[in-house]
């Protein structure tokens, strides 16, 4: 039986097990005169049976799927007489065998491959049969075992809750483990990068020109991996974006939460949130085709020289993109400030604006800072707008009318196209990623401390 079919069958079994457990418990309850006589509600008995029936079988299936390919491969390759020496050669040979077995081998296969392919097909068939049998036996056996163990005194709820707690812990750790995994993979690749480029050059170098020679005699064979221009570019674009997004977002939030009527609010808030739903590519070409030329002409009108792709254009559009993050979150936290705070301030003779400025906003500040932080991380991580509107030139400049580039944009350009994954050029992307990760981490850390310190708790 194919794995998906087996999976579906297993699900069906689980449903049946639930139904059986449920009805058994319900019948037992009727026989004894009411639910109170059972140690748990029938749905818990159902879930209990279903878990016995489904969970171990599912785990077996998962483990099987993880390990059957490597085992089959080892068995197939064992029988081969003249084994290639290199890893790559073995991979190639096995790929040939697989293709032969699947029937899409080009050209004439060697007898050795043909024979191995037959063995592969044979082994796979056997494995499939064994898998189906074991999973079904486990499922039915444990399901029956659970039914046999049924008694009205069985504390089904406690057992079910224990299992679900383990499942919850598993889900929580999956997210954490993924983060750790990403961090480690980025870290190791970065370490490889730092073997060819010194850390100090990467951190403090002022030149970014990530070229590596393919041949020793190539022109321009020396690359420069100084990340400073990228980080200044990122900082500048993000700063411009925050300069737009924070005041506009915060003030629109204040208007919506404190001044706007109910009906206006009901319309305006979703419309503002639509901004967050516009794909960043659309923002990107809006920035490149509309805002950037406008910035250039405006600069020319006041006698300044602006490049056609400028940090200002990208930052402005990115700021607009981020407005809903700031405004929507701030609006929520402002609304969460209890009415009694406002009443207290108004009752002392504050004007509406004094109430907002001196009582409501300070009370909502932790949440507002949270919203702004989220916006900052969006700004730092944003790529598309910058690719299209700010350019690719790694200029070290403080002039927002110049074209700049950001860390994320460089990561993209380093990894786009055909690349060797062991050249410093591609590994540089991981080092940049690591830097980005670390700096946002530090940013979050600082902000958390600031918020904790200046938090004004209301209760």
């Amino acid at each position: 039986m194919q794995t998906p079919t087996l999976f579906a069958l297993l699900l069906l079994l689980v449903l049946i097990a639930y139904g059986t457990g449920f009805s058994r418990a319900a019948a037992a309850a009727r026989g004894r005169g009411g639910m109170r006589k059972l140690a748990a509600l029938p749905s818990y008995y159902g879930t209990h049976t279903a878990l016995w029936c489904g969970l171990p079988a599912l785990l077996l299936l998962a483990v099987w799927l993880m390990f059957d390919e490597p085992i089959i491969r080892a068995l197939v390759m064992n029988g081969i007489a003249d084994m290639p020496d290199t890893m790559a050669g073995r991979d190639l040979l096995y790929a040939q065998i697989q293709n032969q077995a699947a029937g899409n081998f080009f050209g004439e296969a060697t007898p050795q491959v043909k024979e191995a392919a037959e063995r592969l097909t044979h082994l796979r068939g056997g494995a499939q049969l064994l898998q189906t049998a074991m999973v079904l036996i486990l499922s039915l056996g444990l399901g029956a075992f659970a039914m046999l163990r049924f008694s009205p005194k069985l504390r089904a709820r406690e057992k079910v809750e224990k299992v679900f707690r383990v499942i919850l812990i598993g889900c929580a750790s999956a997210a954490i483990l993924t983060t750790v995994g990403i961090l480690l993979s980025v870290l190791f690749e970065s370490l490889r990068f730092f073997q060819s480029v010194p850390v100090t050059e990467f951190l403090f170098g002022l030149q970014w020109s990530p070229q590596m020679a393919l041949r020793a005699d190539q022109v321009g064979s020396s690359g420069a991996f100084g990340a400073v221009p990228l980080f200044t570019g990122t900082l500048m674009v993000s700063a411009i974006a925050m300069f737009v997004a924070v005041p506009v977002g915060l003030m629109s939030a204040i208007y919506l939460a404190e001044y706007a009527g109910k009906r206006l609010r009901a319309v305006a808030k979703p419309v503002l949130e639509v901004l967050a739903g516009v794909p960043t590519v659309v923002y990107g070409f809006f920035a490149a085709l509309t805002v950037a030329p406008f910035v250039r002409e405006a600069a020319a009108a006041v006698g300044l020289q602006a490049s056609s792709e400028s940090a200002l254009a990208a930052g402005l559009v990115m700021g607009v993109m981020i407005i809903p993050f700031v405004s929507s979150l701030s609006d929520d936290v402002i609304n969460a400030v209890p009415q009694s705070m406002r009443d207290g301030a108004l009752g002392l003779g504050s004007t509406h604006s004094e109430t907002v400025r001196k009582v409501v906003i300070p009370a909502a500040l932790p949440g507002i800072v949270g919203g702004v932080l989220l916006a900052v991380s969006r700004a730092i991580g944003e790529t598309m707008i910058v690719v299209m509107a700010a350019g690719l030139a790694a200029n070290l400049t403080a002039n927002p009318l110049d074209s700049v580039t950001t860390v994320t944009v460089q990561i993209v350009t380093l990894l786009v196209g055909d690349q060797e994954f062991d050249s410093p050029k591609t590994l540089a992307a991981f080092a940049l990623g690591l830097m980005l990760f670390v700096s946002t981490l530090i940013l979050n850390f600082i902000a958390l401390h600031v918020v904790k310190k200046y938090r004004e708790q209301y209760d």
């Binding site: 209890p338 705070m341 301030a345 009752g347 002392l348 003779g349 001196k358 009370a363 004004e456 209760d459």
Partner: protein
Amino acid sequence: MNTMTLDATGYSEPANPQTVEKKTVDSQTKVGETVGAPFCDNAKLKMRNVNVFYSETQAIHDVSLDIGRNEVVAMIGPSGCGKSTFLRCLNRMNDTIDGCRVEGDFTLDGDPIYGPKVDVVPLRARVGMVFQKPNPFPKSIYENVAYGPKIHGIASRRAELDEIVENSLRRAGLWNEVKDRLDKPGTGLSGGQQQRLCIARAIAVSPEVILMDEPCSALDPIATARIEELIDELRENYTIAIVTHSMQQAARVSQRTAYFHLGHLVEVNDTETVFTNPQHELTEAYITGRFG
């Protein structure tokens, strides 16, 4: 009318319960005109023919009442009878509620409270308010008290502000408890201390009238007793209107008591008269605990 005795707790019982039970008193009983003495000679606040509507529902029906200078007026009545609504009219806190409409004449020392030319901000500085649930701002104790003087520009120098804060906290009976931790958050105080902080915050702007909306309902008996003492002391300088669910409290702190019933002002009289010799059968039914 029965003769009543006022016992030590201020809770009164009819001398002859049997006579009372003969009367059928329920929420259908006619209210009629306000009985007793709603008006006084030395009035600080005058309210005439007040009607309040929440959208279509009428919450207050034609209430007229005076609140005298340096007097504590208690407003009692069953839940939903409109006493809080009425109290909130006096410094226009009802303005913040959507769909609330207030009719009638209100004057504070002859100055109108409602009207197109009246600025609500100075009005609320003259008529302060203490709320049911202590609502200190999430700021330090000092900043809580200094908030009002700051926004009204009462104190120009730091020393003056310090003085106002200290005086207000002293008058609220909180100074000794908090003088060493003025920079700690006001929300960290106990419930009773928070409420006294709110009172200090209200008197820091030197209002003429203080409105209290069930100021002790969230407090334990000891904190309640402390605040009641405080109300009695504050009477020397301020006019106080207090809404309370506790008849003992009304009896203890007030000079006059107003009994509200379903949006009508049923009876106003000297507190002693209301609790010993109520003129209206609804008042009597309420204070003897037969409904409410």
